[in-house]
């Protein structure tokens, strides 16, 4: 075999090439300016001795993150770096299949900002927010949907994100299928067209364009994009009332590599100490927030 060092070099070379090509591609198609990794982004100079806080993030996925630092996960990463007195370094990697393998697991970074609080591929921190799936409808339709048991869902055209990974689905897809609601459900690839900004947004656009009557989307995505559509949209939480349904609500944490308890503890301290500031950031991004269940703070 190649030595690990050789492999690392090869991977690094491939990665730099990857970013280079993405840079050109995005600069041309979406007006984004891409740079080679790593990119220091600390607003203020940290103490000279501290190791940088190395974060991996998707360069093109608002409202979570983008390379211009405009997502709420970017804002919170800056907050973490500031509080920890460390410079912030990003490695940009599309959050696709293999994301954790190519990022935390291969040592390119030490922290990812958003994972489910029971995600087994990483060691999650204590969760820093909880949200849920929501209905997105045109305000002028006055549909006022709340429940997946609403009989109108048998007739309305419904848009959902399709994951595509084997056996994987967003929970409302499964809940609707369990009710026999399948024929009027249309899937939009969650990966979308990566040559466009913020590819998963197409699901929210589909409601504004009238392609579907209702989208059922992950709350933060819907909360952020609904006000940015040219037409007024209504965002309402999906009430999770059936014991048989898969979970519609998820607590979200940051994730560190398995075994990195030092960073986990440090991040959790900041989350606890800066609770109010974090909530304010999330509210600024219109993240539909839910209370953490008991014992999961």
């Amino acid at each position: 075999m190649c030595s690990d060092a050789d492999k690392a070099l090869l991977m690094l070379a491939m990665f730099v090439a990857l970013l280079g090509a993405m840079a050109g591609h995005f600069a041309a198609s979406a007006g984004l300016q891409w740079a080679l990794v790593p990119v220091a982004r600390a607003a203020e100079a940290p103490p000279a001795v501290a190791e940088p806080l190395r974060v991996c993030a998707d360069p093109n996925n608002l409202p979570f993150s983008n390379q211009r630092g405009e997502g709420f996960e970017n804002v919170l990463a800056r907050l973490l770096a500031r509080e920890l007195g460390r410079a912030l370094e990003y490695t940009w990697w599309p959050q696709r299949r293999g994301f954790i393998r190519h990022t935390l697991d291969s040592g390119r970074c030490d922290l990812v900002m958003g994972v489910p609080a029971d995600f087994e591929r990483v060691t999650p921190t204590a969760p820093y927010y909880r949200s849920g799936y929501v209905f997105v409808t045109r305000a002028d339709r006055h549909l006022d949907l709340k429940s997946l048991d609403d009989p109108r869902l048998r007739k309305l055209s419904i848009g959902l994100h399709a994951i595509g990974d084997d056996y994987a689905n967003v929970p409302p897809a499964q809940a609707l299928a369990a009710r026999g609601i399948v024929d009027n459900v249309r899937g939009y690839s969650v990966y979308g067209d990566y040559s466009l900004p913020d590819p998963p947004r197409v699901l929210i656009d589909a409601v504004a364009r009238g392609e579907v009557d209702v989208a059922i989307a992950w709350g933060p995505l819907a909360g952020y994009f609904a006000p940015r559509e040219p037409i007024a949209l209504t965002v309402t939480p999906v009430i999770d009332e059936r014991a048989r349904d898969p979970a519609m609500q998820f607590s979200i944490a940051a994730g560190v590599r398995h075994g990195d308890t030092a960073l986990k503890t440090a991040v959790e301290r900041v989350f606890a100490a800066r609770r109010a500031e974090i909530d304010e950031v999330l509210r600024d991004f219109h993240v539909p927030l839910l209370a953490q269940p008991e014992g999961k703070t």
Partner: protein, 605 residues
């Protein structure tokens, strides 16, 4: 056969500084047995197509290396590629040059067989779009090239087809066929059929829509493209479409066998092998699993996923289709090779298509009509179905083993990786046997776990794979298609057999193992006659050829990788049974036996 090839047979040529050439014995016994006829026999001593001949037999008439002398084989050249991803596919030999395509970044390397130790002639670097690295599902593999009309033609991971001048290494044309931004890649080896090159796409996991396309060999322009889902106009189903079974007949089945619009994300990609019958003038290929939802969310047969399809190569029109499993619930892509042979079946000569399937069955069809003549298990642990009804063409499914969301289903065999992967089998007309590289792995489908992609939390099933019953994971199965039963099998204890197979007129069968052994068996008895430990696991396909010195050689890639083999990579944890889409559970020991790193091995006497 090339005129140039004949001229370099002169004694002055020496391959890899081989010793002065001994008289070459006349090829003996290369003719097919009386009741077996090769459809498109491999011409001469070269290897110009991915699987040797158009019929995908991977059989060579070369017979200098025999059961009596194979023990003398030794490596005569070893060339590292400097690339660590899985080295699937095989070299080509055209005239006095060998050509190999590397995994991503898909370089094409030309090796001069006239000179000692095969120095490089040139390397062509296509520089595929690096973003394709992030979307390829299962390692960054390439399954090889085809030669035609002075060109080496192959596909790049970023969904392009390129033709390179076989002499100079200069690109002649390059055609973009798919869009990496929507998840399309190409890993398969194109097949040149007459003046066209046939290509298909990968990316079913990302919900792309499967297709095959024909490009002009001359200039690379796209002549036709046929989708495997959607309306009849898109799937090129017209008046000529005559499927054998009622279940496969009807208007716009590529639309009506799906919930509304779901065919648009319907998968059914073409990442395996194309074969061609020059007499019937039909191409054959298999399609991948349906996308993109769980089975519950795509009620219907989901046509034309998991199907064998016959098309007219000139206009792409579909002539027949046979769907192997309707409404797939196991990820049983049926993109495996279709081996075309004329032989006696049921007491009369038939034009057969033999398809050893991921589903664990060997399907034997009449390739003129699409009639299923037999479907028997080559992997005895197969339990998703008990068998097939030859009257209806339908599987007799075992309801207990159908996966359902939120339901724990244990002990499904085979696992999603199948009773056989994409690596191709070989057929010898001398023995009448198909040599199948088989897997014996099963899986538990374990309900739901939280996952997160593109900022969105979701629920996925945990698929945990593990070795099947019997204390072995792989087997080289010698299968008699006429009798629909195995004749012998060589069990591989540690790992599935994930390499292609080569059969020769020397009555030898060559294949490799994931722990790096390259083996030669007696094609009649299965007796191990020779083996050599290569530097990495073998997931490539062996070939044989005569060098410019007139002597027979055997070549194979060594370099672990692919869906299952990627577990050997340092970045994949061997502790997590669900990693690499669940295959770690079946492959957890592999790091003890091999590691990544690709090399070409050439063996001679």
């Amino acid at each position: 056969m090339h005129a140039r090839f004949k001229c370099v047979l002169a004694a002055a040529c020496s391959l890899f500084a081989a010793a002065a050439s001994a008289p070459v014995p006349a090829q003996s016994g290369a003719a097919a047995t009386d009741d077996i006829r090769m459809v498109a026999p491999l011409p001469g001593a070269e290897w110009q197509l991915p699987n040797g001949d158009l019929a995908n037999t991977r059989y060579s008439t070369l017979a200098q290396i025999t059961t009596a002398n194979v023990g003398e084989l030794k490596p005569v050249n070893i060339m590292h590629t400097g690339i660590s991803n899985g080295h699937e596919g095989s070299p080509l030999v055209v005239g006095d040059t060998m050509y190999v395509v590397t995994p991503y970044p898909n370089n094409l390397i030309a090796i001069d067989l006239r000179k000692p130790y095969g120095p490089l002639k040139w390397v062509y670097e296509p520089h595929p779009d690096p973003r394709s690295v992030g979307i390829a599902c299962c390692d960054l593999v390439n399954r090889g090239a085809s030669y035609a009309d002075g060109k080496i033609i192959y596909n790049t991971l970023d969904a392009h087809t390129v033709a390179v001048d076989a002499e100079t290494g200069k690109p002649i044309w390059k055609t973009r066929l798919g869009d990496v931004d929507v998840g399309e890649t190409i890993t398969m080896a194109p097949l040149v059929v007459k003046d066209k090159v046939i290509v298909g796409n990968s990316g079913g996991e990302l919900g792309v829509r499967g297709w095959v396309a024909a490009l002009a060999v001359a200039d690379g322009h796209e002549i036709w493209r046929a989708y495997n889902t959607g309306p009849d106009a898109d799937t090129k189903i017209g008046a000529d479409f005559k499927p054998f079974y009622a279940k496969d007949r009807g208007k716009d089945l590529g639309v009506t066998s799906w919930p509304a619009d779901q065919w648009k994300l319907g998968g059914s990609t073409v990442w395996g092998w194309i074969s061609y019958d020059p007499e019937l003038d039909l191409i054959y290929y298999g399609t991948g699993n349906p996308g993109v939802w769980n089975p519950d969310l795509r009620p219907g047969d989901n046509k034309w996923s998991c199907a064998i399809i016959a098309r007219d190569p000139d206009d792409g029109s579909m002539r027949w289709a046979y769907q192997i499993s309707a409404h797939d619930a196991w990820d049983y892509d049926e993109i495996m090779e279709n081996v075309l042979v004329d032989m006696d079946f049921g007491g009369k000569p038939r034009k057969l298509l033999i398809h050893p399937g991921r589903t664990g069955f060997v399907f034997v069809l009449d390739r003129a009509t699409g009639e299923l003549l037999s479907a028997e298990k080559f992997q005895p642990s197969t339990n998703w179905a008990d068998g097939y009804d030859l009257q209806t063409g339908k599987a007799r499914e075992n309801a207990d083993k159908r996966t359902r969301y939120g339901v724990v289903t244990r002990g499904i065999c085979p696992s999603s990786t199948g009773a056989k992967e994409v690596v191709p089998s070989a057929f010898s007309p001398r023995t009448g046997l198909l040599y199948i590289p088989a897997h014996n792995t099963c899986m538990d489908y374990e309900g739901i776990e939280s996952n997160y992609i593109a900022g969105t939390p979701y629920l996925g099933a945990s698929v945990k794979m593990f070795p099947g019953p019997g204390g072995y994971q792989g087997e080289l199965v010698a299968w008699d298609p006429a009798a629909a039963q195995p004749v012998w099998g060589v069990k591989e204890e540690k790992f599935p057999v994930y390499s292609g197979v080569l059969a020769t007129a020397g009555d030898l069968v060559f294949y490799g193992t994931m722990d790096g052994w390259f083996k030669a068996l007696d094609a009649r008895s299965g007796k191990l006659l020779w083996r050599f430990k290569t530097g990495s696991g073998i997931v490539g396909n062996p070939i044989t050829f005569n060098g410019p010195d007139g002597k027979q050689y055997v070549a194979v890639y060594s370099g672990i990788g692919g869906w299952m083999g990627a577990v050997a990579f340092p970045s994949v944890s061997a502790d997590d049974p669900y990693a690499a889409l669940g295959v770690v559970g079946a492959m957890k020991d592999i790091k003890q036996y091999t590691a990544a790193g690709g090399a070409l091995y050439v063996f001679g006497r």
